[in-house]
Amino acid sequence: MTIIRTTLPDEPRMTAGLNPMWQAAAYLSLLQAGVWGFLLFRWLTFGAIGWTAAGFETALAQGGGLAGYLVYGVLLVVDLLLGVGLLRNLPLMGRVGLGRALAGIILGLAYYGLMREFYGAAAFVALSGMLFFLIRRNIAGALAYPAGFWLAIFFVAPMLIVFIVSLGERTRQGTVTYPEFSLSNLELYFNDYVRFFSPIGGEYIYLRIFWRSFWIAIFNTMVCLAVGYPFAYWIARQPQKYRSTYIFLVMIPFWTNFLVRTYAWMLILRDSGLINNFWTITLHQQAVLLSDNSAFFAWLAEISSRKLPLLFNQPAVMLGLFYGYLPFMVLPLYSALEKMDWSLLEAAADLGANNFWRTVRVLIPLTMPGIVAGSIIVFIPSLGAYVTPDLMGGARVALLGNLLQQQFMTVRDWPFGSAIGFIMMAIMLAATLLYFRTLNRAA
């Protein structure tokens, strides 16, 4: 019996070469070596070429002329050796790399502590941290690290700073002081939180501003929902080939800056704007011509002789908010409606439900996630709206966003501004929690 040997495809050989994580670490090291080399070159030729000093270079220069050579030179050597060593799979490179990564993190933090130079320190710590996870061959860590680092630096740290400032007290010059620490006067730290809920000169000014912002935000959400839902429904019932075009049209306004669109509305609504010019000139003249013949035109001529108060009032603010946030309502509603299984509606009809009950019992419950998502996306920015009330409301009436701006800029009460920020965050957190609870119930 002859054995027929089939030729098997080449087995994927376990390459004796490098683990891909280490390979990445090597390239990262070489990249950094390149950066150090470039910086060393800049340092060498600073006077000759006339570079503009970056922040970290000015900071480094405070340590004397030799500092740059030492720092950049040593880092260049270490990173170059590490990179080449890793690529050639030299022994002990794991330990060296780990040491380099940890030293980088410590040095970066120390550098920030000493020099208060943020960008250089952040970049250095970021790269060293990445190196750490690569050398440890921790895939999950290496994948999560960039986002985690980003959140820590740009979300957690600022939040912490704002919270600490909110515990302080504003001085006459607008600087921040903190009450002396003692367990008996802990409530002093929360003065600003208490102030938000207390009467000032007999009136609850801040609560009034909050209440006004709150109901405007709720109202805006309702209007956006009432207009956006039928609109999204209509798009979702269009033939497949047109739908993306319509959604594309909904998104077109985003190509223009919100500020520019707000100013455009102001040009339309103001006393000498498009609508008022039509009203008091074109329409008025026609009405005057016809006023002899009809009581209606006489009445029209009379009312069109005065300009319509369209801008710099509360309705104008509402209009601006509605205009600005409607697309944010339509998009999540559309994505919920698009996934809708329309045969369910037919089934409901077969079972005897009329249009009303089909909508209330089938359509709305099934699209609830879209409704809630859209409402939250509209409600949260409406509550903090700043530009619209400032420009379209003529800055006459403050909303929370304006109060916040006023505390930070005009009045320079940073602790109180920070406290307001945290109170707003608590409210928005509550709204978001509500969202998830509703979602869970729907599921």
């Binding site: 030729t45 900071a59 220069a61 000032i200 102001m266 005065r306 800029m409 320079r412």
Partner: protein
């Protein structure tokens, strides 16, 4: 493996060059690009960062300076004294020359945000009119040099039937409901500026503009709240163009230069008149002065002083006034200022009007009351 020594050699060589024979490189930490030559004269830095009020200099002055001295000017603008302070206090560095007003200068000196200047390096300081030297907010001009000055009053639309018969001459036109009813449908703007608006109310009530008394300030707040329903906008940034020239309002609480700007922008060759007149109310009001100062954090001190000196040059100062329509504290500049501006009583008011005007000072602890009133007004 074989290549490794080559790398090492390269690095060793680089380090040798760096530490041994190389030039003493690296930026110098204290001069920020200004180098001192052997004879002790300071070379100007290549760049200078200037932070000024919106629309407050003829851009040509900047390009001229750049062309003449080879210093690139990084120009940025702010809208109010408080914005400027907030920016500096939040740790913004890199601004060299800033332009705070009177009371803000006092506060900034107290907060140690300004660098002392050396007047001997600014020979053009001799051009400044004696009235503007040694102002109370900066005794001896240790920190700042005067840039522009002006007044705050009422701008009103020429040709409005009510104003034809009753030209506004009092703050009553901003605060009295009986008067406001006559023209509020045409629109009224007030400055969105805490100190200015409260001062106007204080002036009308006959109180000291720098009062620290709670009852005075509460009276001012009540007066403002009573008039607020008649006002259309709070705007102190672009009101000249977007509200006055565009005819969105018929009366505005206004700085002198903005009113004059609106006048000249609507100037009609045929009638030889513009649409906007300016009045300093008979009760008096605020006069203010903006100053050019150098920040403490500036690393280009010598260049900044050189720029200040340039701004105080007679022809340059005149060019600033010819552009902004604000008064110049520069006595030597007067001959170069356009005649119609020089003779305009709303820009250079007569002595007896000037005597009724007051500088604003830093209110000290009373700032908390001002803030409270302002929140009540806006809330």
């Amino acid at each position: 493996m074989k290549k490794l020594p080559l790398y090492l050699l390269l690095i060793a060589g680089l380090l040798l060059v760096a530490c041994g024979g190389g030039p003493s490189g690296g930026p110098s930490s204290n001069t920020g690009g200004e180098t001192t030559s052997d004879d002790g004269t300071v070379q100007l830095a290549r760049e200078l960062s200037v932070y000024n009020w919106t629309d407050y200099i003829d851009e040509e002055i900047i390009t001229n300076y750049e062309a003449e001295y080879g210093v690139k000017i990084i120009y940025d603008t702010f809208a109010s004294n408080e914005d400027l302070l907030a920016k500096l206090q939040s740790g913004a560095t890199g601004y060299d020359v800033i332009f705070p007003s009177d009371y803000m200068v006092a506060l900034m000196i107290e907060l140690d945000l300004l660098a002392e200047i050396d007047l001997s390096q600014i020979p053009n300081f001799a051009n400044i009119d004696d009235d503007f030297v040694n102002a109370p907010f900066d005794p001896g001009n240790k920190y700042c040099v005067p840039y522009q000055w002006g007044t705050t009053g009422i701008a009103y639309r020429a040709g409005h039937p009510f104003f034809e018969e009753n030209p506004p001459d009092s703050w009553a036109y901003l605060f009295e409901p009986e008067l406001l009813q006559q023209y509020s449908s045409g629109g009224i703007n007030v400055l969105n500026d805490q100190r200015e608006l409260i001062s106007a109310a204080l002036a009308y009530l006959g109180h000291d503009l720098n009062t620290r008394s709670r009852t005075d300030l509460e009276a001012a707040r009540d007066l403002i709240l009573q008039a607020k329903p008649y006002w259309k906008t709070f705007n102190s940034e672009d009101y000249e163009d977007s509200l006055m020239v565009a005819d969105e309002v018929v009366l505005s609480h206004s700085w002198s230069g903005d009113a004059s700007g609106a006048y000249y922008k609507t100037y009609d060759e045929e009638t030889e008149d513009g649409n906007w007149y300016f009045a300093i109310p008979k009760e008096g009001g605020v006069k203010w002065m903006d100053n050019a100062c150098i920040t403490k954090s500036s690393t280009r001190h010598a260049t900044a002083m050189h720029f200040l000196n340039y701004l105080l040059d007679a022809e340059v100062a005149a060019a600033v006034t010819n552009y902004t329509y604000y008064g110049s504290p520069n006595a030597a500049a007067l001959p170069f200022i356009l005649e119609e501006i020089r003779n305009d009583p709303s820009i250079f008011p007569p002595e007896e009007t000037l005597n009724k005007l007051q500088w604003l000072d830093d209110p000290g602890e009373a700032i908390f009351i001002y803030d409270e009133m302002w929140t009540a007004i806006k809330g």
